[in-house]
């Protein structure tokens, strides 16, 4: 089997281009003469050569060439092509190239036909030469066995244009690189001697094939990539971070808009400058970082390093920046991509936080309360000065040691139990503890315990003094309680005594009076008509004196009872109380000329019987002291005050009194009128006032001598009596 070997196998593509034939014209055999030659432009040599000679000439040209029609039929072929493809001219002329060279049916991955078709079509479309990658394209052996031989080709397709610029022919030129590709087999036979060569060859072969395939794909994707590249560029431009790209020497080759505004330079001013211009210490920082990175990340997966630096603006001012660095290794050289963020605000905030933390730390250290942090294994992680003072040990001695080491026996104390509870249950507790030191002294602390990440944060304050005061207060309270109890008992006894006394007065003082009166009466009956007028008058005085005495006793008892008896609290209609009172005074009113003016009165909360006593007394007084008027005028009115209290007034046009004695008005046995003017014993108003006071109200009087008097009562709305809440008053 004969093969045509080319001298230079290593640069097949270039060879193909260099050997591009020009001005080769053919006459297709078996077809009408097809002379593309312009006779006018023929050289003398041209004219001397017959077209047959041209054909001969072409067929003898070294190199593997086919001439194809635009429909890919073979219209001329060189001898060397025929030899290389094991074909005969007669067998392939006029036939389609894919008919002559089909894919190897035994190779399912065969791409020869499709790649060749793509290349040829590209040539037709672009009207430019198209170089194919090295292509395996197996060749069928002549004969009947139909077997294919493995062949590698490096083809180039070159169009030949007619006068109008249309593709007339395609020159399909190939190099048979099978031997080169298969060199490893040859090398294998001389393995010992040429291992190095073999390795290199294998490497080259693989590289060659892969590279060639890549180029093909690259060519196909080129247009698309240009578009993507434009998009990427605008994205970089729009990035919120400043972007700088530098070449191997550190010169800036790309600047985005954010970088411009960040550093205050125009793009043009930065391009070509070293990154040092705007990034201080960038070289050493990056070097360091990259060394660290490369040292740590042997897998090479880390693509980015970040460093804190200072940037310098065009005006010379410096500011903190954060730089993310990425490195792109290309065969053209290394590129460093730097994404820069202005950290002025963050740095300031950090500085403030730092200052604030320092301040808190300072405060914590120096504050009056003892602060400590205990780890979960009971070690002191932190102590402030006060805590060390409370511990009565040096801070340095306590730190890192456990509480049990510092205070032996601590794990048997209540404090330990509570702290453990806080640790176990992550509970916050505030509690006072009594702490006994090794020397036996006892100090009280108020603890505030709070679980934190490290363990427990404990604030404590010595409260021994407070505890002592509390204990003293407690003691005094107990004594006071005791005294109050004793005093209450005494008062209760006194009260019982008073009641017993009242009972005696009620019962025993009245009996002799009754006897005096009774016996005087019997004496009168027995001596009827026998006594002198004077004797008769004496008996009469004795009788009335006993009656007065009896009345005094009753009133005194009544006054005394007002201070003691329990009051009922009901909703009382004052309208009804007033009506009842007037009815009770019927005997005094009968025969009198009285003009009554009575306003509608509200309901109040109180004891109905007591309130009736009040009104009987006040209205009774009004009736009594207007006795000398031809027309007595009595007005009962009321008004509500802003706070809901009610003031009820009873006004008359009677004798009145001098206001300078007003303070005597409500005293027991105090009178402002002589008995021969208006009878009375001076207890009535004292009782009334006591009742009003016990209702939580006030009472006062206004008067003018001989013009009348006005008595007013203010009744408070009741408090602390739930039953009243809903009741209208």
């Amino acid at each position: 089997m004969k093969r045509v070997k080319e001298k230079n196998n290593s640069r097949t593509q270039e060879v193909g281009v260099d050997n591009k034939p020009s001005g080769v014209f053919l006459q297709q055999s078996g077809q009408s003469s097809h002379l593309a030659t312009d006779n006018a432009s023929k050289t003398p040599a041209d004219s001397e050569l017959a077209s047959a000679s041209y054909q001969k000439l072409f067929e003898s040209v070294p190199g593997l060439n086919l001439i194809l029609s635009p429909d890919f039929r073979i219209i001329a072929v060189t001898n060397s092509y025929l030899a290389a493809t094991m074909t005969e001219r007669e067998g392939i002329m006029g036939k389609g190239i894919f008919e002559v060279f089909p894919d190897n049916p035994n190779d399912p991955n065969a791409t020869g036909v499709s790649n060749l078709r793509h290349s040829l079509e590209t040539t037709l479309t672009t009207k430019k030469p198209h170089t194919m990658a090295v292509q395996r394209y197996d060749i069928r052996r002549p004969g009947d066995d139909g077997k294919f031989e493995v062949r590698y080709w490096s083809p180039i397709n070159t169009p030949v244009l007619d006068d109008k610029g249309a593709v007339e022919f395609i020159i399909h030129r190939v190099e048979d690189v099978t031997d080169f590709v298969a060199l490893k087999k040859v090398q294998g036979e001389r393995e010992e001697a040429a291992r190095e060569l073999k390795d290199r060859t294998r490497q080259m072969e693989v590289e060659l094939v892969l590279r060639a395939q890549e180029i093909l794909k690259t060519n196909q994707l080129l247009a698309e990539r240009e578009h993507v590249s434009e998009q990427l560029q605008s994205l970089v431009e729009a990035m919120p971070d400043g972007v700088l790209v530098s070449d191997e020497e550190g010169r800036i080759v790309l600047v985005n808009a954010t970088s411009e505004s960040m550093f205050g330079y125009c793009r043009g001013e930065l391009l070509g400058e070293h990154v040092r211009t705007v990034l201080l210490d960038i070289d050493s920082s990056l070097k360091e970082e990259i060394l660290i990175r490369d040292g740590q990340c042997l897998t090479g997966s880390a693509s980015e390093t970040t460093v804190w630096l200072f940037g310098r603006r065009r005006d010379g001012s410096e500011f903190p920046i954060h730089v993310a660095h990425g490195r792109l290794e290309r065969k053209e050289g290394r590129m460093d991509i730097l994404a820069i963020r202005d950290m002025t605000d963050l740095r300031r905030a950090e500085a403030e936080i730092h200052a604030s933390e320092a301040r808190y730390h300072d405060v914590l250290d120096n504050m009056f309360e003892a602060a400590q942090i205990l780890s979960y294994d009971w070690r002191y992680l932190y102590l402030n000065d006060a805590a060390a003072r409370n511990g009565r040990q040096r801070k340095e001695e306590m730190l890192g040691r456990t509480v049990m080491e510092c205070f032996p026996g601590f794990d048997e104390t209540e404090m330990y139990r509570v702290l453990k509870e806080c640790m176990d249950e992550k509970k916050r507790i505030a509690q006072d503890f009594e702490f006994e030191y090794a020397d036996g002294s006892v100090v009280w602390y108020a603890f505030s315990i709070q679980p934190v990440a490290e363990g427990l944060f404990i604030l404590s304050l010595e409260i021994t003094d407070r505890k002592m005061v509390e204990a003293e207060t407690q003691r005094l309270n107990t004594i006071l309680d005791q005294k109050v109890r004793e005093r209450t008992a005494q008062l209760e006894a006194a009260n019982r005594e008073l009641e017993s006394f009242s009972y005696s007065v009620s019962h025993d003082l009245r009996a002799p009076l009754r006897h005096i009166h009774g016996y005087v009466d019997m004496l009168e009956r027995a001596t009827r008509g026998q006594l002198s007028d004077k004797a008769q008058r004496c008996l009469s005085v004795i009788s009335s004196a006993s009656i007065e005495m009896s009345q005094l006793i009753d009133d005194l008892l009544s006054f005394s009872r007002m201070g003691r008896v329990e009051f009922f609290h009901n909703v009382v209609s004052l309208d009804m109380v007033v009506a009842d009172s007037i009815r009770a005074l019927e005997s005094e009113i009968t025969g009198r000329n009285i003009s009554w003016t009575i306003s509608p009165l509200p309901n109040v909360l109180g004891d109905p019987i007591m309130l009736k006593h009040v009104f009987v007394n006040l209205i009774g007084n009004a009736v009594k002291y207007t006795r000398r008027r031809d027309l007595a005028e009595i007005e009962i009115s009321c008004y509500a005050e802003l706070d809901g209290q009610t003031v009820i007034s009873i006004q008359d046009n009677g004798a009145g009194f001098d206001m300078k004695y007003a303070d005597k008005l409500f005293g027991v046995f105090q009178r402002l009128h002589r008995n021969d003017e208006f009878e009375g014993n001076g207890i009535g108003l004292a009782i009334v006032q006591r009742i009003v006071t016990r209702h939580g109200g006030q009472m006062w009087a206004e008067a003018e001598v001989d013009r009348g008097a006005k008595f007013s009562i203010r009744l408070s709305p009741p408090t602390g009596t739930p039953a009243l809440a809903g009741d209208g008053i």
Binding site: S506, A511, R514, H515, G518, Y519, D521, M522, S550, D554
Partner: protein
């Protein structure tokens, strides 16, 4: 002339007793009044004990009872009368100087049939006794066994 009814008057005060008898005499009721000077005597009489073990048969138509008496007081006498199934039917009128509400309330709780405060004025006292005596001794139908001479006639 109607037969007299026996009235039991229990009071430690001889003066009150004299005044009451004077008043009852006006209505010819005095003759049948049995005067007892304290609670002990009253209970002895009613339960036929001591000097009253052999007293005449029959129960009083009414008992006028003072409260404040030495030894056994009126409330105790009242309690025993009203606690005895035979005696409790006898009307008991409490006549006392006391206006204390506790006395009044206790008396009614123990079953007193009336409560009269002795007035200071003799006229009123006289009238009160007269009315009490007349009502209980003359008008009220006494329980069976009481001494009321004409009650059987009907």
């Amino acid at each position: 002339m109607s037969r007299l009814r026996r009235i039991l008057f229990v009071d430690d005060s001889p003066r009150d007793t004299e005044l009451v008898l004077e008043a009852l005499d006006e209505y010819n009721l005095a003759n049948e009044v049995v005067v007892l000077r304290d609670g002990t005597e009253a209970l002895d009489y009613l339960f036929r004990r001591g000097e009253f073990a052999d007293r005449e048969d029959g129960e009083p138509v009414v008992i006028l009872l003072d409260l404040k008496m030495p030894k056994v007081d009126g409330l105790e006498v009242l309690r025993q009368i009203k606690g005895d199934h035979k005696l409790r039917v006898i009307p008991v009128v409490v006549m006392t100087s006391s206006r204390e509400e506790t006395d009044l309330a206790q008396s009614y709780q123990l079953g007193a049939n009336a409560y009269v405060v002795k007035p200071v004025k003799f006229g009123e006292f006289f009238e009160a006794v007269r009315q009490v005596g007349a009502f209980w001794a003359l008008l009220n139908d006494p329980p069976p066994g009481s001494i009321r001479g004409d009650s059987q006639s009907g």
